[in-house]
């Protein structure tokens, strides 16, 4: 299995193309089996991953365009490993819980294609390969929203596509400039990230390059004020689309910050801590308030995603292992929890064909199992200890506290505002009397739905109680990256900042 990464990337798409000849009735089963195999492969990767090592593992390298240094170059380290596992898991669970009736074969093929692009993004170590998968991931998503979405689907999908596409074009310019700089220094072209890491730029260049990459990543995350495509996309997308979008696609942006911006531009990153922290805090508080004002249950979850991504962004720029490891853990946690929440909204939407909360009320009496699963995910979302949501949030906040206590307190209001909108959703939908007569006939979760939620609930609790197997590999890679950044930083301010944020005990 020395080509495990290539198998992980290309197996779904090959199987997806073969999926066209599968009979229509068995397309769903076919898709689930492929996704299951892919998930098992990713588990195999995890089992064989050396968690004591911080370096890239299972590296594959062969040239595509030799003269321009474009290579097929993939590898995995602690940072990307779990994002890959989460991607395959959420694809599997999403596919299992899928309730789409029309064009099911197309959906299965699209999802498998999407899975390839997502895994590819997380495994790529060559900028061109990264960019290739990054852009390619837009196409299946565009199709999913545009073909299976709600009434405004065309507007939403085009907005999603053009918005993110514009951002990534600016990022591409940045990439080309970095490659050109590499060429002008060394005389050879290279797009390999490991080569790029070695480049030292002037602060001025770093700043502009950081901005170029920032635009691409920030729109994907999405950071305030680039977030408005998200509510539309979520509002119109079918359940499966929202699940994948929230669970995985958004993480590509934050992953990009960790993979590109921090190690390539350490000084600019340190310089940008304050602005990014302020944007993150706006994201946390402002979108939480907007979420509270929503009437549509799905929109609440959509805006809450933005709020949680604010926490993740904050942690990445904490410049210490607590913050960054916490961020990456929070990416996993948010992936699983928000994915599950979108699936839960899908469950009630399938039954009532509405997502407006005023039509619900008293659902806990009619659908106790549904209320229980929703309750667990809600608690994970508000960051209750011993659920997956707490670990990441706690680490991020404790990490960023070292950078700025005041900003951390502001960001920490997320535990308050988060509780406000989530509990009000729960109260409006599940508590009180059953006001809507039609809702009295609703059926509780069926076996299929239950089996797609049980693994998620199990993970939410398992990683809440024992996050260590996941945290250790991440921590190793992050610490290696941080010490690399410390060595690389050219300005003394950045160097001091990175050193200062590490030390636990400061001398008086």
């Amino acid at each position: 299995m020395s080509f495990i990464l290539s198998i992980l990337i290309f197996f779904p798409v090959v199987a997806g193309i073969l999926g066209f000849i599968v009979e229509k009735g068995s397309a769903r089963v076919y898709g689930i089996s492929i996704a299951a195999i892919e998930f098992i492969l990713s588990l195999w990767l995890w089992m064989n991953f050396d968690s004591t090592s911080a370096s890239m593992q299972f590296v594959e390298f062969f040239p595509i365009v030799k003269d321009f240094g474009i290579n097929y170059y993939v590898g995995v380290d602690g940072i990307s490993l779990f994002l890959v596992v989460m991607t395959t898991l959420m694809t599997l669970i999403g596919m299992t819980s899928m309730t789409i009736k029309t064009e099911i074969k197309n959906m299965v093929v699209t999802l498998l294609f999407l899975e390839m692009t997502m895994v590819g993004v997380f495994l790529a170590l060559d900028a061109i390969v990264f960019y290739f998968f990054w852009e390619l991931s837009l196409v299946p998503m565009l199709y999913i929203i545009g073909a299976w979405g709600g009434p405004l689907r065309v507007y939403a999908s085009i907005k999603f596509f053009l918005y993110t596409f514009t951002g990534s074009l600016i990022m591409l310019v940045g990439m080309l400039f970095v490659a050109y700089s590499f060429y002008s220094i060394t005389g050879v072209w290279s797009f390999a990230l490991t080569d790029w890491y070695a480049l030292k730029f002037d602060l001025n260049y770093q700043f502009w390059l950081f901005l170029a990459f920032f635009v691409g990543f920030a729109i994907k995350v999405p950071m305030f004020p680039f977030h408005t495509w998200l509510p539309y996309a979520h509002g119109q997308a079918p359940t499966i689309g929202s699940v994948i979008l929230a669970a995985v696609l958004l993480k590509m942006g934050t992953y990009g910050f960790v993979r590109f911006s921090l190690p390539m531009f350490p000084d600019a990153s340190v310089m940008m801590i304050l602005p990014i922290a302020i944007i993150s805090i706006i994201m946390i508080i402002y979108t939480a308030m907007v979420a509270y004002a929503q009437e549509d249950m799905k929109q609440v979850i959509a805006y809450s995603s933005v709020s949680h991504m604010g926490i993740i962004m904050l942690g990445i720029f904490a410049m210490n292992s607590q913050g960054i490891t916490g961020s990456i853990f929070q990416m996993l946690s948010h992936g699983i929890v928000s994915g599950a929440l979108f699936m839960l909204v899908g469950v009630i939407y399938d039954r009532t064909h509405t997502k407006i909360m005023s039509n619900f009320g008293g659902l806990a009496t009619i659908m106790p199992k549904y209320a229980l699963v929703f309750g667990i995910m809600l608690m994970a979302s508000v960051g209750l200890p011993l659920t997956i949501g707490f670990v990441g949030e706690f680490l991020v906040l404790i990490g960023f506290y070292k950078v700025s206590p005041i900003l951390t307190i502001l960001a920490g209001t997320s535990i308050i505002v988060g509780a406000i909108y989530m509990l009000s959703v729960y109260k409006k939908s599940f508590f009180g009397e059953v006001t809507n007569e039609e809702n009295k006939k609703l059926k509780d979760l069926n076996a299929k739905e239950l089996w797609s939620f049980i693994p998620l609930v199990a993970i939410v609790i398992w990683l809440g109680i024992y996050p260590k197997p996941v945290l250790t590999p991440i921590d190793n890679s992050v610490q290696a990256m941080l010490s690399f950044m410390k060595e690389k930083a050219i300005t003394p301010e950045a160097k001091n900042m990175i050193i200062a944020t590490q030390a636990a005990k400061e001398a008086k």
Partner: protein
């Protein structure tokens, strides 16, 4: 001994999961029985541990496994049974066991009987995690855990709809539950910040490491940490201004009020101050603030209890007031007295609440004491229990409250904080008055309930027997004061009265006693014969102020809840849709419009195109020439 720690801790969890298995099936009595048994096992283990620690003086410390470990942040699941935590364990598990047994009778007719036991046991587990943890993070786990269980239990009757504040001051159980959770979360942020300060200045969250580092820390850091931790304590212990949730929490079933909102969870804040006493004892300003706030809350809450008509809310205000006493003691440095009052209070307040539960059960859910009266005939035992508990609460010797509360008042005198002392003495009188106002209005006088067609009946026998340990403890707990002192000072700093105070102790005690007894006599005169309402008092300014809780809930609604909702709405409809999104769409529209505009160039007339072409070629030529001239 280590196994006992695990048994004490995990028996409630097993109980919760066991009951949870039946959560969606119809009521089964054995679920309650098994739960109570498991809780009893937990109590026995705690008691054995307590005996072990008392006799050998050795702590039992176990580390189960690592929880979070990143860079130099290491948080294990570690549990310690030492003098403080074992006291809490015994109190918590004892009261919990009794409340569990009580609930078998009380929740008899509730169709969510099994679910109730699952939640209740989960609460006990969280509470034990809170008190037994050997580090601040573990404490925080329990801290949030009890918060969630409290949310679940306050909102236990979630199906009740929202009503107006005039009809029910707590609006609805689910509303009260959310209020409690969110208010606690505000305080929890303070607590988290405290954890962060501690971690970054000592490099650990383990109690022993942190406390050993204290001498090396700057005073400013310690003050900040103490303040942040106390903000956390203020939320959980419902201190002003985060107190409104506690009375609204009375929407939960009465056993919940007894266990969570009287005996255990609300004392977590006091426990935190006691646990972190090395930090608080070196930050005198914060400690003094705690004492002053505690005294204020004691007075403030007692004043609201004076006029309230709701049986459970009166007891809730009284809890608030007693928590104030505990904070006053802890703030003045008498940590062991605070802990002693905490334990004694847990016994008699739980008894009082359970008694109120009996009354409520008998009155078919009616809580207005103006609609009761003369229940003594039907409910002799409950009357005895509640009378006893009220005597203890009022601080009448030789009951538990006398010993613990008197010590606190004496401490205030000893510290020379005479204003605090005076306020605490007055509060003691108020306490006696409102407790007996409630007892007399409920049990003596004319039988007003007959107008409403209610036929009260006494509680089941086994329930009354189950309550008896609490009654016994409410009577005798005070006698253990000296023994408890010698036991607890292994861990907590001793607090001794000065010579001067010692001489005056008798007089001081007598003053308090006189004030308390006159409170009872006043209540007897006014209410024992029957209810005489006076229009004049009830329309008076002070009465209005008190009955409306100083209008604080309304102020919060007007200043916080409503504006928050409105600003949120504004943020969404105006800022997000009209500004942020409109800008994005505006850019898209601009591009679209400019394309639409330039489309007109495409006239279809070749001649026009050729003109454009010629013009373009000339322009390029011009630019080329110009740039070569300039460049």
């Amino acid at each position: 001994m280590e196994n006992l720690v695990y048994i004490a801790l995990f028996a409630p969890l097993v109980s919760s999961l066991f009951a949870g298995l039946f959560a969606m099936s119809p009521r089964k009595t054995f679920v309650g029985v098994v739960s109570s048994l498991l809780l009893f096992i937990s109590f026995i283990s705690s008691a054995v541990l307590g005996y072990h620690i008392a006799t050998t003086g050795a702590n039992v410390h176990v580390t189960m496994m690592d929880w979070i470990s990143v860079a130099d942040l290491h948080i294990p699941f570690g549990f310690i049974a030492d003098h403080v935590s074992v006291t809490m364990m015994v109190v918590v598990s004892l009261v919990s066991t009794i409340v569990h047994i009580y609930s078998i009778g009380y929740m008899d007719h509730d169709k969510s009987f099994n679910r109730f036991f699952s939640y209740l046991s989960a609460f006990v587990f969280s509470m034990l995690v809170l008190v037994m943890s050997d580090n601040f993070a573990g404490l925080f786990i329990g801290w949030e855990g009890v918060g969630v269980c409290s949310w679940l239990l306050i909102g236990f009757w979630y199906h009740k709809p929202d009503v107006s504040r005039e009809e029910n001051p707590s609006i609805s159980p689910s509303w009260a539950a959310n209020e409690a959770f969110i208010m606690n979360r505000i305080a929890d942020l303070g607590m988290l910040v405290g954890l962060f300060i501690i971690f970054w200045s000592t490099g650990s969250l383990q109690y022993d490491v942190v406390f050993s580092q204290i001498p090396n820390l700057a005073p400013a850091v310690l003050t900040a940490a103490a303040m942040a931790l106390f903000i956390g304590a203020m939320g959980k212990s419902a201190q002003f201004p985060l107190h409104t949730w506690l009375t609204d929490a009375m929407e939960g079933p009465t056993p919940v009020s007894a266990l969570i909102h009287a005996a255990t969870m609300v004392t977590a804040g006091v426990f935190l101050v006691i646990r972190a006493n090395p930090i608080f004892s070196v930050t005198p300003e914060v400690s003094y603030f705690i004492a002053a706030l505690g005294t204020f809350v004691a007075f403030f809450a007692a004043s609201m209890a004076l006029v309230n008509r709701d049986l459970k809310r009166i007891i809730a205000f009284s809890t608030l007031s007693q928590l104030g006493y505990m904070f006053a003691a802890a703030g003045l440095g008498a940590y062991w007295i605070a802990l002693f009052h905490l334990a004694a209070h847990a016994f008699f307040k739980a008894l009082l609440f359970l008694g109120a539960g009996n009354v409520m059960h008998a009155m078919h859910g009616e809580l207005d004491i103006f609609k009761m009266g003369g229940l003594k005939k039907q409910m002799r035992w409950t009357y005895a229990y509640m009378g006893l508990a009220s005597l203890a609460l009022a601080g009448i010797p030789p009951l538990a409250g006398f010993f613990s509360k008197d010590a606190i008042i004496e401490t205030a005198f000893n510290e020379g904080t005479l204003i605090l002392w005076a306020m605490l003495v007055i509060t003691a009188g108020m306490t006696a008055f409102y407790s007996f106002r409630q007892v007399f209005l409920t049990f003596l006088g004319d039988e007003r309930y007959k107008e409403f067609g209610i036929h009260p009946h006494e509680m089941y026998g086994f329930v009354l027997i189950a309550m008896s340990p609490l009654a016994i403890l409410a009577v005798i707990a005070g006698f253990f004061r000296d023994w408890f002192n010698s036991f607890i000072i292994h861990l907590l700093p001793n607090y001794e009265m000065s010579e001067n105070t010692h001489h005056l102790a008798l007089i001081l005690g007598a003053i308090v006693l006189v004030v308390a007894v006159s409170g009872i006599i006043l209540a007897y005169k006014k209410y024992a014969k029957g209810l005489k309402r006076s229009e004049k008092t009830e329309n008076g300014l002070i009465y209005k102020l008190l009955i409306n809780q100083y209008y604080i809930p309304k102020i919060y609604e007007a200043l916080i809840t409503k504006p928050y909702a409105e600003i949120s709405k504004l943020m969404w409809t105006k800022v997000d849709m009209r500004i942020v999104d409109a800008t994005v769409d505006g850019i898209a529209k601009f591009i679209y419009k400019s394309g639409d505009g330039s489309r007109k160039m495409q006239t279809g007339n070749l001649s026009n195109y050729l003109n454009w072409m010629a013009g373009g070629a000339l322009a390029l030529l011009f630019i080329a020439v110009a740039s070569s001239v300039i460049g």
